[in-house]
């Protein structure tokens, strides 16, 4: 909550500065930790997340995300291994140094749940379809760096458990420092 208020205050203070950071050809990269909350399981997980994003216009970008499961905050974890790869499009509302965005990302996950307590049976790692809905905010505070926060809802199922599938949907929060460069020269305004 404090972070949201702080970012809103910063947004208000910089919104009037119309220097355009989001331009066609902008290339962004980000590496951060993602805190996840499993929707159908009692588990809060931590992921290492990275993404690479390219802007084809001021309002549209394509972004690839990779998420690598690190650990859980619970004593009995649901997952043993999990890696997710997503690729999709994001729509942006840039305004000076600020940029709100939202989008969808189809993808795949490589998941391995922990052995079940009932059957004491280890599961193989399986490739499963995944789907992500993401939204967030970026603040471009310098020529090469930005702050960002984001939320993500990830849909995923592990098929083939003893009693059917295991729902692995996760709600994620992330934020941190990102880097960007402009790969295309802007045409001078006429």
């Amino acid at each position: 909550m404090v972070m949201v208020i702080a970012l809103f205050t910063i947004y208000q203070s910089v919104a009037q500065q119309k220097e355009a950071f989001v331009t066609p050809g902008l290339l962004k990269a980000n590496l951060s930790f993602n805190q996840s909350f499993m929707v159908f399981q009692k588990s809060n997980n931590v992921y290492l997340g990275g993404n690479l994003e390219y802007f084809t216009s001021r309002n549209l970008s394509f972004r690839g995300d990779c998420l690598w499961y690190l650990d859980t905050r619970q004593k009995d974890p649901v997952l043993k291994r999990n890696a997710v790869v997503l690729f999709g499009a994001l729509l942006h509302l840039p305004n000076g140094k600020s940029d709100f965005f939202a989008g969808v990302q189809p993808g795949i996950s490589f998941s391995q749940p922990q052995p079940s307590a009932v059957y004491d049976h280890s599961y193989p790692t399986r490739m499963m379809p995944a789907f992500g809905i993401t939204a967030g905010y970026s603040l471009y505070f310098s020529r090469f760096c930005n702050f960002n926060i984001g939320i993500n809802y990830l849909v995923s199922r592990y098929r083939g458990a003893e009693t059917g599938s295991i729902k692995l949907d996760e709600f994620m929060i992330t934020g941190g420092l990102g880097f960007h460069i402009v790969t295309k020269k802007q045409k001078p305004e006429k």
Partner: protein
């Protein structure tokens, strides 16, 4: 060295894609790439659990009102509580646009086409116990593009798919799962829903 060359090529290629797509004549020849998520709805005995999948496609447009979509999907679903199935689709559809305007904000279309499917059933408790088959299918349906920009659209589509192939029956008696294939060809059908994002990358002719 090879990696560096690929990265350099990407830097040269990507900025060119940020420009507006210049059409040579009409919309014919426009090539676009897309990623999609799919939901399969089956109403056939044991196969009634919905499938969820991911895939991709490219589109090649033949005229202002006719487009084609070449796709591959991979879906997975539960098969009752004792097994699961994986469907891989590869196929193509022709799309006919219902509006004369070649680039409206909302662009509904009819579609029909052909598809091949690889289907595999796997026992939950014993992955070595599985059955598989290939089938051919026809599909038809409706969809619409939401043209967000000149080059980017979000599309939704629903299609009815009719598969012709060996029928596989699954059963679980006293905890033992078995799969049996019937002789000859059988028919099964399902609905496939798609949500896709698409970007026009070139006008080929």
């Amino acid at each position: 060295m090879r990696t560096i060359l690929i990265i350099l090529a990407a830097f040269i290629f990507l900025p060119s894609q940020a420009q507006e797509l210049k059409l040579k004549k009409t919309q014919s020849g426009v090539l676009s790439l897309g990623a999609r998520s799919s939901i399969g709805l089956v109403n056939d005995g044991q196969w009634q659990k919905p499938a969820f999948g991911t895939g991709g496609h490219f589109r090649l447009r033949f005229s202002d009102r006719v487009n084609s979509e070449w796709f591959a999907d991979h879906l997975k679903a539960d098969l009752s509580y004792y097994a699961w199935r994986a469907d891989t689709h590869i196929g193509w559809s022709v799309m006919y646009y219902l509006t004369k305007n070649p680039e409206p904000l909302i662009q509904p279309y009819l579609l029909a086409g052909h598809c091949f499917e690889y289907l595999k059933f796997t026992d939950n408790k014993s992955p070595a116990n599985h059955a598989e088959r290939w089938s051919a299918s026809i599909q038809a349906g409706i969809g619409t593009h939401f043209n967000i920009t000149k080059r980017f659209d979000i599309s939704i589509a629903t299609q009815y798919m009719l598969h012709l192939g060996t029928k596989i029956k699954a059963s679980n008696v006293e905890g033992v799962t078995s799969f049996t294939k019937t002789k000859g060809a059988g028919i099964h059908d399902h609905i496939l829903l798609n949500l896709s994002i698409n970007y026009k990358i070139a006008d080929l002719w």
